[in-house]
């Protein structure tokens, strides 16, 4: 079921990428990433992973072609706007640094600091106080669930929770980031109301450093990225007189950038001399 839902989202993203194909690659990468993050956040907030829920998210996003036509209008309007020296310098800097400015520029390490403004967003219902302190509560089974659902299940049993990330387990493959893989105490244990259940969640709270892929073949780059817990997308092939056919010419984000686990890294591959 979850695979089907992933496939529906993947199809939407493929249509979006195709629709954005005429755009500067920096803008295209950013829009694709942001829409993909939108879907992931919206899905994480669904009470249940159903096809209807996912379709509604995509419906509200709008047709990929609609987003692309807005993007083309924005690209046009930006050219009129390089009006002050400051903005012009900023635009120039983007051009010079290249598409690698995508995610990493403004990105420090992950911060867990939360202002009051941020904490009012989709709060997990972890403040249930309705259970008597001496009531015996059976811990529900929450492993295999996304964290938000696990937290809801615990809250409705009157339990609190604590999250620990599992840095050793890279979220590559079929277990998505945010999945609860271990719970303590285990399901079925009788505990007092408001007890704290510790959840171990796939992924790491730390950012991942993007490796340098220049000079690698497409297959090498793929495996380098996979072992860093990152996903590769390929642009091109693009004609090049000085980079051999099938070898990576450039990448975005740039090597050394800090990105969230499971981010996409776009590589441009040489077609050899045209």
């Amino acid at each position: 079921m979850s695979d089907d839902l992933d496939a529906i989202c993947a199809e939407y993203m493929a249509r979006l990428k195709a629709a954005l194909s005429g755009l500067p690659s920096g803008d295209r990468t950013q829009i694709v990433e942001q829409v993909s993050e939108h879907i992931a956040s919206a899905r994480a907030a669904l009470p249940e992973q159903t096809e209807a829920g996912v379709r509604e998210i995509l419906e509200r996003l709008g047709q990929p072609e609609e987003i692309a036509s807005e993007a083309k209008a924005e690209t046009g309007s930006s050219k009129r706007r390089a009006r002050t020296p400051v903005l012009f310098a900023a635009a120039l800097a983007v051009v010079l640094v290249g598409v690698g400015i995508g995610i990493p520029a403004a990105l420090g390490a992950f911060s867990s600091a939360e202002g009051p403004a941020k904490s009012n967003v989709i709060q997990p219902p972890n403040n249930s106080t309705s259970q008597a302190a001496d009531a015996n509560v059976s811990v529900p089974e929450v492993t295999g669930e996304q964290l938000n659902l696990a937290v809801q299940a615990l809250a409705s049993s009157g339990l609190a929770y604590k999250v620990s990330y599992s840095p050793g387990i890279q979220p590559v493959g079929t277990v998505p980031i945010g999945t609860v893989i271990v719970q303590r105490p285990s399901a079925g244990t009788m505990v007092q109301g408001a007890s704290v259940i510790t959840l171990t969640v796939v992924g790491t709270a730390n950012s991942v450093t993007v490796p340098n892929l220049a000079g690698q073949s497409q297959a090498q780059a793929q495996s380098t990225l996979a072992s860093a817990g990152l996903i590769m997308t390929v642009n091109g092939p693009v004609a090049s007189t000085n980079v051999a056919r099938g070898v990576v010419i450039s990448q975005s984000p740039a090597a050394g950038a800090a990105v969230p686990p499971r981010s996409s890294v776009a590589v441009t591959v040489s077609a050899g001399p045209s």
Binding site: Q34, E37, A40, S41, L61, A90, I103, S112, A117
Partner: protein, 103 residues
């Protein structure tokens, strides 16, 4: 006509939404879609945010989320605040003028 006015004003609505607090993409998109008629669909916010970022009016930072993947938060910059302030003043005059003529 309405479409053009909307296009002109919406980036300042985004900046205004960021004036008091940083917001992540989904949150901004939903806030704008819920404000009557501002965007036709949530996804069209992202090309706009991409441009605002390119122009240095917003920047972004990553935060962990309590229930899902990390979120990219958008934050208004000093240039963004200056642009918003200047628009607010112009808008005030524009609105007063148009209101006076329409009455």
């Amino acid at each position: 006509m309405l479409a053009q006015m909307r296009r002109g004003a919406i980036e300042y609505c985004v900046l205004a939404l960021l004036r008091e607090q940083d917001r992540y993409g989904l949150e901004l998109a939903r806030a704008l879609a819920e404000a009557d008629g501002l965007v036709t669909s949530e996804g069209t916010v992202y090309p706009l945010l991409t441009r605002l970022r390119r122009e240095g009016l917003v920047d972004t930072t990553w935060e962990e989320s309590p229930n899902g993947p990390p979120r990219r938060y958008f934050r208004i910059t000093k240039d963004g605040r200056a642009a918003l302030k200047s628009f607010s003043a112009q808008w005030e005059r524009f609105r007063t003028t148009v209101d006076a003529l329409l009455e």
